[in-house]
Symmetry: C2
Subunit: 326 residues, 2 copies
Amino acid sequence: MKVIITGGAGFLGTRLAQSLLARGTLADADGKPRQIGSIVLFDHVAGAAGSDPRVRTVAGDVSDTATLAQIVGDDAGAVFHLAAVVSGEAEADFDLGMRVNLGGTRAVLEACRRLPRPARLVFASSVAVFGVPLPEVVTDVTTPTPRASYGVQKLISELLVGDYTRKGYVDGRSVRLPTIVVRPGKPNKAASSFASGIMREPLDGKRSACPVPAATALWLLSPERAIDALVHAYELPAERWGADRSLNLPGITIRVAGMVEALARVAGRAVAERIVFEPDAAIERIVSTWPSRFETKRADALGFSRDESFDAILAGYIRNQGIRIG
Amino acid sequence: MKVIITGGAGFLGTRLAQSLLARGTLADADGKPRQIGSIVLFDHVAGAAGSDPRVRTVAGDVSDTATLAQIVGDDAGAVFHLAAVVSGEAEADFDLGMRVNLGGTRAVLEACRRLPRPARLVFASSVAVFGVPLPEVVTDVTTPTPRASYGVQKLISELLVGDYTRKGYVDGRSVRLPTIVVRPGKPNKAASSFASGIMREPLDGKRSACPVPAATALWLLSPERAIDALVHAYELPAERWGADRSLNLPGITIRVAGMVEALARVAGRAVAERIVFEPDAAIERIVSTWPSRFETKRADALGFSRDESFDAILAGYIRNQGIRIG
């Protein structure tokens, strides 16, 4: 089986590839495990292929239909569509967001439609599809009303994934990811970038600016659970999904203040004091429209899982990164 | 003021133009009436301009960005975007539906975005954005879950109209039209075509096949109220619309059986007996996913109006068409 990962040079794409290589198989439409023969990591920049001979990296424009058709070929079995311009960037550069986040999904779907047999596709959507006005708790039937271009583009992509699925062109599944923390590496232009930054930078001995108030509540998922969710979304039989191919994933709710306390608890007060609150109206405006409390009955019933606690997320990050405390 | 009507050669477009010409003005952003200097009827086929010197007809592809930019020019003040491939056709020809119903909206919005000052735009959406599962009564907060490509394309268009509006590129308003009856002329490829046909053809002395069961409930609006709604949607001040630019219009609920009875009442039993029930699974599958009962509090509060009764709709059609009964 050939697996395509768009956004394959990104954080989640790289992690997903590692996880798939370690597993070696993915469930097929009949539910039986099928050997992963190759993984194509597609991104706008060439990623690191690593030493595994099964991995190939390709650089190109995800919105270019011809490029996508070539990459998907006529033998793609599984597609994970993760490529996206992040929220802050999609808001700052409308055309770029439309081209990559909407045009990219269309190009991926069109390439899949041309396959001799429908591929399974997992699309990484986002809780940014929700926006004000919001109920106290978002449920499986809450109407998405995105109030930023990123969320609009993700929601439109979900609708396309749903309709291409209904038409039998692809077997698509869209999962709405919570904010993923703790991401290693550098800050990016996502409005949620700070959520990882305020943990990562202090643990790295650096000062970190938090652009939102301490009372801001967030809906979080660890990278490990996010990868689990993408694979589980893929492996679930089509009939378990039914007609509705969009799903709110489980997560945990925590305020920024609670994250700061957890950092102090796990790494010491001195580390937590490296977080400085420096309000940024543009970031706050976007983040304040995101929901932070969910009831995820459908995802729970489908077997998706959440992190145990924020302390557990933080401990996992420290362990995975080999960070020495104290 | 220059007014652009896409789908200008169509039934609603032609009626809208007549209504605007008769009014002579449209409210501007400051609420004051502004003279309509010209109306451009844009459609894929050249429409009839009639004798009014203010009207110009242009034939072209609504999804062609360059054509749209040329038509909108830098002096369009008002845009009514009605052009669409109808439901049955969008389902039968996926690519055509995507190109016209999604690509067309994008081209219109991009042309508007290039104007020196944001135009007001009214987009004719549809209750086909709703689909199963549906509550007993659709309200202003019911989540649209379209189950046919036409509804998906309309909903995506609404999302784009909303986001272009939020960005200040256009002052857009999307109204979800009920099924419009009674349409004069010939049957078309809309899944709802029969709803007009079963009144129009018998009144014209012809047999008419009804593809859905008599118990099928429909959500209806007359052409007159539809035109009123488009103009009212245009003239409402932006602050009355607020952030949510999509609206379920008022209508009336009636079963096909009730329509047949009304026809017998208004035109005689012999006329009503020209309706023959001939089930069509494809049509029924689409129509059965459409909602028929709504609570339209927001539209009511905004001053949109419904027809008095189906008898009144039917009487209006007979009067407007100059049909002699008995």
